[in-house]
Symmetry: D2
Subunit: 297 residues, 4 copies
């Protein structure tokens, strides 16, 4: 079993660190929130007093942070991890950030002989707790192989997408597609409802036909079609509109950088931005279902 | 076993009639094309010399026609089926047309005491030949139940979407969603490719994540990712851009009629229209993959 | 001076009839609203008790009605104008309806030897009161010429767009374009504001450059940039979101009928539909400015 | 009259430098292209052998370069202008680049006490030759005032948009809006044509109504409606699709940075990207008219 440092104990990071402990690993954690730290302590983690301390004397350092700037500073600031990490420690960043930043941080560590992989996750808070996350990794095959046991303790599927940064690219490609599935499914259901169809029946028909997709089949946006999904719980919990909006921004950034045409991805980005701006940012992203509601006549 | 009349022996109708014979039914067919008729004869159908003759002395009359106007005239013209159909014959229209026309024709027959269901299909030419079509039915429960054996001989799944016309509504909802899945999947794959990812690996990752959908999983638009799909065969065969464009027009017509908002469906409709107008109308609809290709730098 | 019958005394029709009187014409009016009738009486119109009576013994009958179905029934119902109109009376329909309905009504009258032109207006309630409306006419050149004096009494510009129905086509082309100008202008201004620019300065710069357009130059959607426009009056008055939404529906109907590709027109249609559905239907259409507001960070 | 250094003698820069000479200024120029240099010599400029030399002993240094990276390196490279510019020289960058880069370069110069303004132009090659360019300036009021005489020698209108970078922001806001006007106008004209209207008549009607905008009124995209515009010259000359595509990329970058919602701007960006990718990058941007052509039936 390994010694693991963990930085960033939010809604995702907290349960992930706890699952590492359950998996038999020795975990030392750091976060700015006292509450998060004491919760982690209860879960069996040992508390340390700084990010650098968390990264000392460990086989792996796992970071789960909100955005590019946090990852940059935690690793590369004058008092950043780069000043303390040993060549024997593998750095695993599970944050969802731009591929550019992932490559930039990874290259800086590489120069010091420190291995780094980007390993953003898919599966949300539910997956983090249930230990069913998917890890999408970018980096050298050897480093990804080395990380496998640790990642396995926090999730189910582990993919190697390619070079450093490829994990981030694959993650935002997936989430851009996810947003398209969600809006498209919402439109199809609303169109059917507007013509008097029962959304349960219509969902069943399309799920058995070429309309089948993850949002229709397991995360239906129409209230009452499925139990235990946010749409049947007032669109509470799940994956927030604001977070989807952030990921779609990363996708558009990647599209701009590469010259890729993404007419649909650009539209969903703008729909989710407007939906957030109209006051729905803290709802699950399936609430976009209400955005494509027909005009009441 | 039943006596079935069949009108419209195109790429879809031909194999469907042949499967009815295989299913042990007695089938009399009519079409304007000599070639289609002789092919049907070889398949074991008996040839008759007019639409009305095909609809005489049968338990079921099945129609598989290109568009609204053909269905209207075949059933309701002065020399249309309505003039010869017996109350004991169930009329099954498998064409993809507007719900309005389906209701209009059905109501006219109803007035004469003749039962009618709309039963558009999903699954394409491949499904028609392989007898794996999905039938999406609209009409009275009794009539749909009565049609079951006959439909079973031509396909796999049979759904009852609701009232008369509901089959057409569900079909276009599904195909509108399908177009969204296809364009969204194409964008996600092109974005990944533009950033150096292997489309096979990216497809595998998204298919195991929340990006999973029919077009990604079984009908991948990127050449070389899957065998036996149109994208790996020069986008030949499959479901033509022009047919998708027609269905998306029906979807927009339904959206206008109901006040439903379909920002994504409206965009895919316009993308497929432009793609057709640019000379790709006879390609499989997955060729839209080439439409969202990045600008070569 | 001419004898004119006028049917439909709404926000537009009322002032138009009043201006006919000011222009020296003898005007007999009918409407279902008592209030509208007494207002017209004060303006100098004579009141009659039915639509058919309004159309009797007149040189011109002008109709200004909400939608297709009203125009159809007022002209073609069993007790419609068609039963009383004399060959010497020119029928002028100023309603904004589909070109199909205009042609249908016009053709029915033509059969009876009655001349008809479609003459939808541009300029809104303000233009109706100020007598500065633009009339966009479809029909035979002779009939349009004959209508000129009467139309001149209600507006400023009179255009002959082409055959019967062409007035309606030109009107919805213009309004589809107008919606695109409005949303595009709103986006450009919001983008500038988000980067710290003064909307007045930015408006002045773009109005003097290639961004110049009607909505930016004379109907600015940003509050405070111009006086006497709806945006500086809480988006009250002007051209309602719901009416724009209706015209955009007519435009999409025309696009579907003709196979025209309108990616932008389809998008504005959906944006205005959603904006209405979100509770802004009774605001001026420039309120879409608030719809493209940046996410407050 | 002033001593002016000029760097970047492309389709825009060449005529601009020539106009400075016509305006009585003493102009020393540098460019990597021999052809450009000899053309400038004929126009009365004196040739120097490096960028730094061009920036020495001058009251003003004007730069007109393709993109961000060129501006960054010409000013800030180890052998960049920053190493030679005197505090008495005002740096005027007329390139169209991101506001971020403009601010970055301006701030670096400022640290050395050198004044800098961003002054991107609107008006295209035609405007550069005819000396009718519009300059949209960002920077301190004093610096902009100081630049006025020099800019006046190259154009007609000079605007002060705001702080440093504001010129770039205003420019891309204008060009994003311009792209929306162009696509919207093209759709409206194609829709009218599809319904049998004469594009000249329809253009005249909309130009006199609320559809009036720069692209309709003075740069009509429909061949034959106007003389002396690219659409009547096989879409040759004018403002290239690839350049519009570049500016729309800058606009989307600015939208991402600020959280502004630009559904229409994002769509035109993708339409122009696809149009370029389909082989029309070297045509005038009004060729998008052919992209929204109806499907030939």
């Amino acid at each position: 079993m390994a010694n693991v440092g963990f930085i960033g104990l939010g809604n995702m990071g907290g349960p992930m660190a706890a699952n590492l402990v359950k998996g038999g690993h020795k975990v030392q954690v750091f976060d700015l929130s006292e509450a998060a730290l004491s919760a982690a302590k209860e879960a069996g983690c040992s508390i340390v007093s700084s990010a650098t301390e968390a990264a000392t004397h460990v086989d792996f350092i796992v970071t789960m942070l909100p955005a590019d700037k946090h990852v940059k500073s935690v690793y590369l600031a004058d008092d950043g991890l780069i000043t303390v990490l040993s060549k024997d420690t593998l750095a695993i960043d599970c944050s969802t950030i731009s591929a550019e930043t992932a490559r930039f941080v990874g290259a800086a560590l590489k120069e010091k002989g420190i291995d780094f992989i980007d390993a953003p996750v898919s599966g949300g808070v539910g997956g983090a707790k249930a230990c069913t996350l998917t890890f999408i990794c970018g980096g050298e095959a050897g480093a990804v192989a080395r990380a496998r046991d640790v990642l396995q303790a926090m999730g189910k599927n582990i993919f190697h997408a390619g070079e450093m940064g490829a994990g981030q690219v694959a993650k935002i490609c997936n989430n851009m597609l996810l947003s398209v599935l969600m809006v498209g499914t919402s439109e199809a259901l609303q169109l059917g409802i507007a013509h008097g169809l029962d959304p349960k029946v219509l969902s069943q028909i399309m799920a058995a036909s070429s309309g089948s997709n993850w949002t229709l089949d397991v995360y239906n946006p129409c209230p009452g079609v499925m139990d235990n999904v946010p749409s049947s719980n007032g669109y509470q919990g799940g994956f927030l509109v604001d977070l989807m909006s952030k990921d779609l921004g990363l996708a558009q950034q990647a599209a701009l950088a590469s010259g890729a045409a993404t007419p649909m991805g650009a539209l969903t980005h703008n729909l989710y931005r407007s939906w957030s701006q109209l006051g729905h940012g803290r709802e699950d992203f399936s609430s976009i279902f209400n955005y494509v509601k027909p005009i009441s006549k």
